[in-house]
């Protein structure tokens, strides 16, 4: 469960949000500058919540009044960043295996699991390629694998299908949905593409400026 009730702030931007997400895939739709990405960054712990309270799985992770701020590395969240943010000095498979290694899984096991997931998402053939040599779509699929692989307790996806071509989008979307349902976690998908959210999400929240 993800529960955000408070002020999301990023630089000069500030906006009140009130969101409750159960074990479902919730879409956030809105124009550029409506604060969608900032909400995800706040939930991940990359920006502190201005006022109010933020809970993940019934635990307070950010509540200024209670003097609580749980560091991002302690929140067990999976996230697809808008620009993918793959580590440029690693191969695709090393990127995908990284969250498992951070959870103490041995390198060989992590790589094996990463290879399996890269296969499912149709990017096994680029597993050994360095991240900067991947195409936009390949890079985005690796980023999706990286967000899901560590069995996180919540998943945040910022424009997760924007770089994937029309033909393979449905396939990637289905795999993503399948994984999210199997994990049984709260997921928030941010997009400016309403049709995409209709296909993927169980519920859509509309945020316009």
């Amino acid at each position: 469960m993800i529960s955000v009730h408070g002020t999301v702030e990023a630089g000069t931007f500030s906006r009140e949000f009130s969101i409750d997400v159960g074990n479902e895939i919730v879409g956030m739709f809105g124009a550029n500058g409506s604060g969608k990405t900032s909400v995800l960054r706040t939930i991940a712990g990359l920006c502190p919540l201005g006022k109010g309270e933020l809970r993940v799985n019934d635990e307070f992770v950010d509540a200024q009044a209670k003097n609580i701020f749980v560091l991002p590395e302690m929140r067990n969240i999976g996230m697809v960043f808008q620009d993918h943010s793959l580590f440029p000095f690693m191969t695709a498979i090393e990127n995908a295996a990284f969250p498992l290694q951070m959870r103490g899984v041995k390198r060989a096991t992590a790589v094996e699991k990463a290879a399996e997931m890269l296969e499912q998402f149709g990017v096994a053939h680029v597993a050994q390629q360095m991240a900067p040599t991947l195409s936009g779509g390949q890079s985005q699929r690796v980023a999706i694998v990286r967000a899901l692989i560590g069995s996180p307790s919540a998943v945040l996806l910022d424009e997760p299908l924007s770089a994937i071509d029309e033909e393979s989008r449905e396939d990637v979307r289905n795999h993503m949905r399948e994984h999210l349902v199997r994990l049984g976690v709260s997921a928030i998908v941010v997009s400016h593409d309403r049709a995409e959210l209709d296909h993927l999400c169980t519920r859509i929240e509309n945020y316009t400026r």
Partner: protein, 266 residues
């Protein structure tokens, strides 16, 4: 027809050529004075071998010490906003612009055995004397080399996009793991360039070393000090050792350029 921006005026070409000649002539002059037939004998002389051993050992130790002190310093300068940051940066840059002999005098004021701020304490309580010792050479070389490493690392840290560290944090990487697994690989080109510059500066150090650690053969006499000393008594040896120092510097430059600082060198 060439674009205006890509045309190079004649006076620029001539100026560049003069610059190359100015830099190359002393090296050619040095090579010209090397007695090639006795080169090996000169380089295997006891005084030369001692100086080379001390120089290599002290410059490597100074570079490691500069890294230990310089990395945290560069991190704070690049990423923390604190009162007095400009003062700290000026302090870091000072050894770069200070005449090295003055640096040596300043080191005597701090670590000198008889009247240094800390030197007396070190001698009385720990029996450590930095002046006229190998440690003195290392301290003097660190003092002058540190700014080069800090400047390079600070620039590198500023240019790293923090989004990668943020992504690593969300994936569960702790501060230390994030630094080792993400920041350090991103910092590698600046780190290697900084280490190389710092090591080269330490290897060539003269003024601060002779003032603070002296010029004792087999103890504190580094290669540049040996060259200076031999120039009077054994010029052939001085040129032989100088040639070796040039060769080492060129080898390091060539060896590291493509691997780590290719982007900067191209």
């Amino acid at each position: 027809m060439n674009k205006v921006g890509s045309r190079t005026p004649r006076f620029v070409r001539i100026g560049a050529l003069l610059g190359v000649v100015f830099l190359a002539l002393p090296i050619i002059g040095l090579f010209n004075r090397v007695a090639w037939s006795t080169l090996w004998t000169q380089l295997t002389d006891v005084a030369t071998r001692d100086a080379l051993r001390i120089s290599l050992y002290a410059s490597v130790c100074a570079t490691v010490l500069a890294l230990v002190l310089g990395l945290p310093l560069a991190w704070c300068l690049a990423r923390l906003h604190f009162a007095g940051r400009r003062f700290v940066r000026a302090l870091v840059l000072l050894p770069m612009v200070l005449p090295p002999v003055v640096g040596g005098v300043a080191l005597l004021g701090a670590y000198g055995k008889s009247n240094g701020l800390l030197g007396g304490v070190l001698d009385t309580f720990f029996g450590v004397q930095l002046t006229y010792s190998l440690w003195g050479v290392i301290i003097a070389e660190t003092f002058v080399a540190l700014p080069f490493l800090v400047l390079s690392l600070e620039g590198g840290l500023r240019s790293i996009d923090t989004k990668f560290e943020e992504a690593a944090a969300v994936m569960g990487a702790t501060d230390f793991t994030r630094f080792m697994r993400v920041t350090l690989p991103l910092l590698k080109p600046s780190l290697m360039a900084g280490l190389m510059l710092a090591w080269a500066r330490a290897l060539g150090e003269f003024g601060a070393t002779i003032t603070f650690a002296g010029n004792i053969q087999g103890r504190t006499q580094t290669a540049p000090l040996a060259v200076y000393t031999m120039l009077e008594s054994n010029p052939e040896g001085a040129y032989a050792l100088s040639f070796l120092l040039v060769a080492i510097s060129v080898a390091v430059l060539v060896g590291l350029r493509d691997r780590w600082i290719g982007g900067a060198a191209q």
